[in-house]
């Protein structure tokens, strides 16, 4: 291995890695858009002890939190084609299952994963808001939807936001495992670039920098948003 870093390669690959950011962000945003409402509803079902759904959600959360993301990725990646094959055959869908863009698998895996994490986040956040708030909202004549949208959700969000931030950063980090789905995101793009000249150190330094910038940005954005939401907390206290 040569001594010292190949600086031109380092700079060039940095932009290669950077070009993978949109895919990583797309997966993150789609997963969050699916997981946020789903996680919230399932958290409510856990708190209100709705039979069947509550128990299913519990097992689901326990499974997702108890197994590595990479194993979940492999399970989805191998089981979805098996499940889809008969359906495709029955309805004479022409597209081959193995030609599906891997990004769909990524959407499935990461939304399922994030949903489980957000169920727990929302569950603990909802339990911090006192029941009196809901009752007070009812007593001034708000209906269920209004009470949640105007009174409870703003308060729940303030409490949940730091944890949602952590979940988002973890999600962005987890997209680096997209290489297992041969998804052309940050990690895989830089790895492929490094394969030519075995410049792996430079490539990984680039990947490292890109994630560092991305995650710090996300953290800063969440901090700003948290500050804006604080006013609800001040009003509540």
């Amino acid at each position: 291995m040569s001594v010292g870093l190949d600086v031109p390669f380092l700079v060039k690959t940095f932009f290669v890695a950077l070009s993978g950011v949109p895919i990583a962000l797309l997966i993150t945003i789609v997963s969050l858009l699916i997981a946020l409402p789903l996680g919230f509803l399932l958290a409510l079902s856990r708190i209100n002890r709705i039979p069947v759904i509550s128990q299913l959600a519990r097992v689901y959360v326990s499974f997702v939190r108890g197994t590595p993301v990479i194993v979940q990725i492999f399970i989805i990646f191998t089981s979805v084609p098996l499940l889809l094959a008969p359906i495709f055959e029955k309805y004479h869908v022409k597209t081959s299952i193995y030609d599906i863009n891997p990004i769909w698998y990524a959407f499935i895996v990461f939304s399922l994963n994030t949903t489980a994490i957000l169920i727990e986040v929302f569950r603990s956040a909802i339990s911090t808001v006192s029941k009196g708030q809901l009752e007070a909202a009812y007593s001034v004549g708000l209906n269920n939807v209004q009470a949640f949208r105007r009174i409870l959700i703003p308060q729940i969000l303030v409490v949940a936001l730091p944890n949602i931030c952590t979940a988002t950063v973890n999600l962005i980090k987890a997209t680096s495992l997209g290489y297992a789905l041969s998804l052309r995101e940050i990690t895989l793009k830089a790895q492929v670039a490094a394969n030519v000249g075995y410049n792996f150190i430079e490539a990984y330094i680039d990947i490292f920098l890109v994630y560092l910038i991305l995650c710090s940005l996300v953290e800063t954005l969440f901090k700003l948003y948290e500050k804006r939401l604080r006013k609800y907390k001040a009003a509540a206290a």
Binding site: M1, T67, I70, F74, L177, I201, I205
Partner: protein
């Protein structure tokens, strides 16, 4: 990839995978050990008065928290031989790289866990201990540390679980733990029945994490019982 599912492969794979469980445990255990030491040093730096050391410790934590484990793993795997270019590291066991990686990561997480636990303990506890004649070191060891440990316990358990799960990524650099064994079995089967093997693997991880969770909640119950007694008397 075959289009049928045979659950016999799940039961067939379980004993094979379980025989590599000790590797997973060893790597996780050593990383916890070194990571906790590193985390303690970082926590001391964060709670100290020197501005520079606070900055360094906070910076380290932020950087490590923003790095995916797999990237850190490869950085250590390729970076360490490059830094130590004078010495020959070719015979070094892969598990050493894995332990270094996860110790670095666990240290960053633990430093936050320890800092928040230390700050959760009322300052008056320490002052009271010093006022009855304990030295600062004694006050820390006998009064603050036991209470802070109880506070840190749930977070420690969670971090441990995370570490065990992230440890599965070590297969990418060729460590044969349960995850590595699973991918070996799959490539021996010419990639058929991979779903069954992964299901068996996830079963092992699931059971392990439930056991660890139960263990920590039991510990927490035992220790917080003591806490209540101290509070009331």
């Amino acid at each position: 990839m075959q289009t049928y599912f045979d659950s016999a492969y799940i039961w067939g794979a379980l004993p094979q995978l379980l025989s590599f469980l000790h590797v997973t445990f060893m790597v996780a255990g050593l990383s916890v050990l070194f990571g906790t030491i590193l985390g303690f040093i970082l926590a001391v730096m964060k709670l100290g008065t020197s501005k520079a050391s606070i900055k360094i410790a906070n910076g380290y934590t932020t950087i490590l928290r923003c790095t995916p484990s797999i990237v850190l793993l490869f950085l250590v795997y390729y970076g360490l031989p490059a830094i130590a270019s004078g010495t020959d590291l070719n015979h070094l066991d892969t598990s050493i790289y894995v332990v270094i990686t996860f110790s670095l990561q666990f240290g960053a997480i633990m430093s936050e866990v320890m800092r928040t636990a230390y700050e959760a303990i009322d300052r008056g506890q320490y002052e009271a201990a010093v006022s009855v004649g304990l030295s600062p070191a004694q006050a820390f060891r006998r009064i603050v540390l036991p209470q802070a440990s109880v506070v840190a316990l749930p977070n420690f358990g969670n971090s441990l679980l995370e570490l065990m799960k992230e440890g599965s990524l070590a297969y990418t650099i060729g460590l044969v733990d349960i995850m590595g064994k699973a991918s070996l079995i799959i490539s021996n089967n010419y990639n058929s029945h991979s779903l069954e093997i992964y299901l068996a693997l996830s079963l092992i991880y699931w059971v392990l994490s439930i056991l660890i969770e139960q263990f920590f909640s039991k510990l927490e119950k035992i220790f917080s019982k003591g806490k209540l007694v101290i509070k009331t008397t």
